[in-house]
Symmetry: C2
Subunit: 669 residues, 2 copies
């Protein structure tokens, strides 16, 4: 036997408490978490907001804890709202300590503890409503999914505060789950109907060192889709009770249980389920040095991001069941493109970048974060998109039609409230995406202004970044440390949208490139590998880097296999996808044709949408002159008029009232 060299050596993230973001682009969103989202969502969890769908979430815990009387209300996974709130609170406390908020969280955690059953079980739906039906409907019951979010929150809270109460509560539940599930005889050989606990158990393993949690996560992944499908089998059990009638005639692809995970080659089924599972697969590939699993992740990633992803970094083409369809099937106006799915996509991409040191994964993660995740939340933090179409005509987003899932304006809150708290925890933990490190090198992924302190080459290094990525593309990074014994390195992600760039180190050019190929490598230490530009051997106490990314507005096209987009262009600038809004461009946006022979003009507008770079360009618009008689179809020539068009970043659409929106514009050919 030849000895096999283990090559998977994942990079680490930096604790988010060490990263202090102060960024012109991101601040307005990140500050929403503490100032608006957390208090607002707390009020919702406690049913204190008028005109918003009842949550009953905290009340359910009180009933389960014996502190209140009443019936369970809400979805089967209602508990996750509290979990995601606590997780967002944890990240917030890690960055901005706040005694009052911590006290509120502590009290909530105590309530959770009281709602926990003697044997460790914690789920208010089953505890209150159907105690005899525990684990009888893994397909729809969401018990493991809910447990997963609880565990993630507990780990985050422990990492933020050092307090162990919540962690212990969830360890007790995880212990129960380890007793119930697994390969042993007499155990349940099922796996979650909605993946999430897998990645959560891995996080729990990382903070507790408890190998059985890791092994159960691996079991859930390896068991999935093997033999007779578990979900179809459990339906035949006499104790099985259907929860969601729309799941009748279950398609096993929906939950990625149609094939053993290692045989899967395409992104299938419900998009959020899929990406949460892929995250755990990536984690396991690293922890078990499992190259086969890593190859599976790479194959699925390629299918998902090169054939089934929108330019906005969103996934899930089907409005029905929020799922993937087929390669290159990317309709712009009836898609689901759930906010949570883009969050999961970013989480998966981050993990793949950590495993492979390949910056292209972060190109996708960044695209998802800057566009779809931010599109999910209004600039006032009080309304949200679940569905993120690339083309909206408000008039036809009607209830009880094919567009009933598309909302032309953000909604205040939802019965199934997964996205708003998911956005909150993502914004509160943006730090996790920004840097990686292997102890010697600092990998810079996202160019978001921040101040960070971390250890590199055995010494504390301070990082100060000022970034104007979304406008001029200029970024300054100041690095400092006390001693200079051991050199450290920097690995700067060169985003795939950067046309050319120049990097100055203490005033001297160290690298410049056109179209990603390095043309000038005067300094020996500079090399590019898989999208990261490495500057090695940094010994100075103070180093200043100036990065000049050329990120002009650019018309891009889709692969001609994307039937919906052929003959069309989208406008991008750096990580941002742009769109036309009716308020700027009038109605009937699909009648607009962009003139791509003329250069678009950029202008930063301080007063618009909190400050955005607007892109103006020329085009033509089909007129109705020849159709004044109201005819619907006729052998008439097209008549055009000149149009001056204005595009704004996609993520901030629908912050100026309802109206049409369009990403993919027709092109004058």
């Amino acid at each position: 036997m030849t000895e096999r060299k283990l090559e998977i050596n994942p990079l680490n993230t930096i604790p988010i408490g060490q990263i202090h973001i102060r960024d012109r682009f991101w601040d307005r969103y990140i500050h929403l978490v503490k100032d608006v989202l957390i208090p607002y969502q707390w009020d919702i969890l406690n049913d204190r907001i008028e005109g918003v769908e009842t949550s009953h979430c905290i009340q359910n815990f009180k009933i389960a804890a014996g502190e209140a009387e009443g019936e369970f209300e809400g979805a089967v996974f209602q508990d996750t709202d509290a979990a995601k709130w606590l997780e967002a609170v944890a990240y917030t406390l890690e960055v901005w300590p706040d005694k009052d908020l911590e006290r509120l969280a502590d009290e909530t955690i105590q309530l959770l503890g009281k709602a926990q059953c003697e044997d460790g079980y914690l789920n208010t739906y089953f505890t209150i409503k159907a105690p005899s039906l525990r684990w009888t409907n893994l397909k729809e019951g969401h018990e493991l999914y809910t447990a997963g979010h609880m565990i993630e929150a507990a780990v985050a809270y422990y990492e933020a505060t050092g307090k162990k109460e919540f962690l212990h509560i969830m360890e007790r539940f995880a212990d129960l789950i380890c007793r119930v599930f697994g390969p042993g005889e007499g155990k349940c050989h099922g796996y979650p109907g909605h993946q999430e606990i897998e990645l959560a158990l891995i996080r729990l393993y990382r903070v507790t060192g408890r190998k059985d949690y890791l092994e159960l996560a691996k079991y859930f992944i390896d068991q999935r889709g093997t033999g007779e499908n578990y979900f179809l089998a459990e339906e035949k059990n006499s104790r099985y009770r259907q929860i969601f009638p729309e799941f009748a005639g279950y398609d096993t692809k929906y939950s990625q249980s149609h094939l053993p995970v290692r045989e899967q080659k395409t992104a299938e089924g419900h998009a959020v389920r899929a990406v949460y599972m892929y995250c755990a697969m990536a984690d396991l590939a690293g922890l078990y040095q499992d190259e086969e699993l890593l190859r599976v992740c790479e194959t699925i990633w390629k299918d998902m991001t090169e054939r089934r992803m929108y330019i906005t970094g969103s996934i899930g083409s089907s409005g029905i069941l929020e799922r993937f369809t087929t390669d290159y099937d990317l309709p712009n106006s009836g898609n689901y493109s759930e906010t949570c799915a883009s969050i999961g996509l970013a989480l998966f991409g981050k993990r793949m970048a950590q495993l492979t040191r390949d910056a292209s994964y972060m190109d996708v993660a960044e695209r998802a974060l800057y566009n779809t995740v931010l599109s999910g939340i209004a600039q006032d933090g009080k309304s949200f998109f679940y569905v993120n179409p690339l083309e909206v005509w408000p008039d036809n987003c009607m209830e009880r039609t094919s567009k009933e899932h598309v909302k032309p304006v953000r909604q205040t809150w939802f019965g199934v409230a997964c996205c708003p708290p998911n956005i909150a925890r993502t914004l509160a933990s943006m730090g996790q995406y920004m840097y990686f490190t292997d102890g010697k090198a600092l990998y810079v992924n996202l160019y978001i202004s921040n101040q960070t302190v971390l250890e590199l080459a055995g010494e504390k290094v301070s990082v100060e970044m000022d970034s104007d990525l979304t406008n001029s593309g200029r970024i300054e990074i100041r690095l400092g440390r006390d001693e200079g014994a051991e050199p450290y390195s920097l690995a700067l992600r060169i985003p795939n949208y950067v046309k050319d760039y120049k990097i100055l180190r203490d005033g001297e050019a160290v690298a410049a490139a056109g179209s990603r190929s390095v043309q000038n490598e005067e300094a020996q230490e500079v090399r590019i590998e898989k999208g990261y530009l490495y500057i090695e051997g940094i010994r100075e106490k103070e180093t200043e880097l100036v990065i000049e990314f050329h990120v002009p507005a650019e018309f891009v096209r889709a692969n001609p296999r994307v039937r919906e987009d052929s003959g069309k262009v989208a406008l991008v600038k750096g990580p941002l996808v742009y769109c036309l809004e009716e308020t700027d461009n009038g109605s009937n946006l699909p009648a607009v044709f962009a003139d791509t022979d003329q250069e678009p003009v950029e202008r930063y507008e301080e007063g618009l949408l909190g400050g955005v770079t607007v892109i103006s360009f020329k085009g033509k618009r089909l007129t109705e002159d020849a159709w004044k008689d109201g005819a619907l179809y006729a052998g008439r020539k097209n008549r055009f008029e000149d149009a001056e068009l204005r595009a704004v970043p996609y993520h901030c659409w629908n912050n100026r009232g309802a109206g049409e929106m369009l990403v993919w514009m027709k092109e004058l050919l």
Copy 2:
């Protein structure tokens, strides 16, 4: 008070038994009815076809008749399959008498009689399964809808055979319905959840002269949508039982009960329900000289056909609930466009033309019949489309996605089998659309080769038409009669797609026109009014007309308000809409751009699809040359290659295996 002149003077149709169609285009479809559809559907109704969803239809009648044991199976409206079969049989017998078929029909009718309850009630679902729930769920129960189809069949069978047994059965049921429903105290003030009985009661009135049937039809129309919505009210009744869970949260627009009928201005809700109702409204407008109702019909017709109709004469833009959406919302690939809705559209258009003598209604009816209705059936008569999209990419017509209703190939039979028997009865009764008469004039609507004898100006007139409308556009009409005492007239519909034309009467030009305005009116008797060209004062024993319609292949465009179609063209020739199929043009049809500056070339191909005129034209096709690296989005230029394209008539798509299909093509601008 000023006296009001009554102006509604509807034209009559000619009994279809007097019209013998022998037409190169239509024969292959019409002969399917007798040779294939009727025997095939009979086998299905009796569950004799392997691999086809069980019908149980005749078995249900046997159980209700006490001739068999068992439970009811099938949909709540399963009886209509037998009704539509009998109706198709009736029309067939009227044209082609057949003793064996008539005997089979008589036996079936006897069975229906035995299944009828003592009080006249006839509906096997409620009789077998829920006798105590009669009339408690008008919204979903389909009792009145089913009765309507039964009545239509009974009327047709009486008209075809002169036999009264079926008619008497249905009169007994109609009498019961008249006792149960109506304005009187103690009667039910409801109306059907699915319209159909209104137009059927009017047909029953026409053959029986029973005014109470007509009055009940009028009651159902006038009562609809008034006061508290009946369907929402009946839900509160303790005897109410929901049948279709998907109707929870009922939208009253779905059944056009959101407003009193006379206040409706737009085509709303489920398309088939809508058009069946409009048919009854048109009938009532004529029978009651109700100008207000006629104006309502005109307004809704305009909305439906000028803002909510596909170029193929189909309606119902939403894949969910088979319904209308909003003006100009006409997506090509996720629409419903049910075959039955186009049948209803043709029925409504025919009635409007009869009422108004305006040929434009027949332009729409013809478009529906030649395209969507025929698309509904395979050329072998054994498989059917319910859904008639204008753009199909088979790969993404997946179960449990937004395209799940779209089938890329025709289906053998359906659980809800409304369309196949509806196509059968329509093909068997094409004669009803072809001619109208007021006793003195013969209105020629459709140019389908036939031999007909009718009475005009008090005398028998024979009509012999040879039509090549769908190819050369040349039509010959030979008229003959014995005496010539009183003159009669002809009213020839000049279709809206005719570019110019020439009409010769016994070798001499009587009319010629460019773009529908008459330029040459040598013969005094010739005038054009509302799309009909009138030739009056025909006294000759024999007259021959030669009509030369110029019907070249033509690129047409949609009103720019149709967002889905801007920048695109469709190809039409005469009444036929054309499409691209993958088998002729390769895959990825949306990457094709038509060059509309070059003339399309027509060629009749005898061996193709039973003989069709193929249209060839030039265009460009986006190539994948620049995308060999598999990138999904990039700032690359478009690259095109020349393409030679071939279009075939839309109605015969998918008769050469599965593949892509496209009606609206991108245009090189």
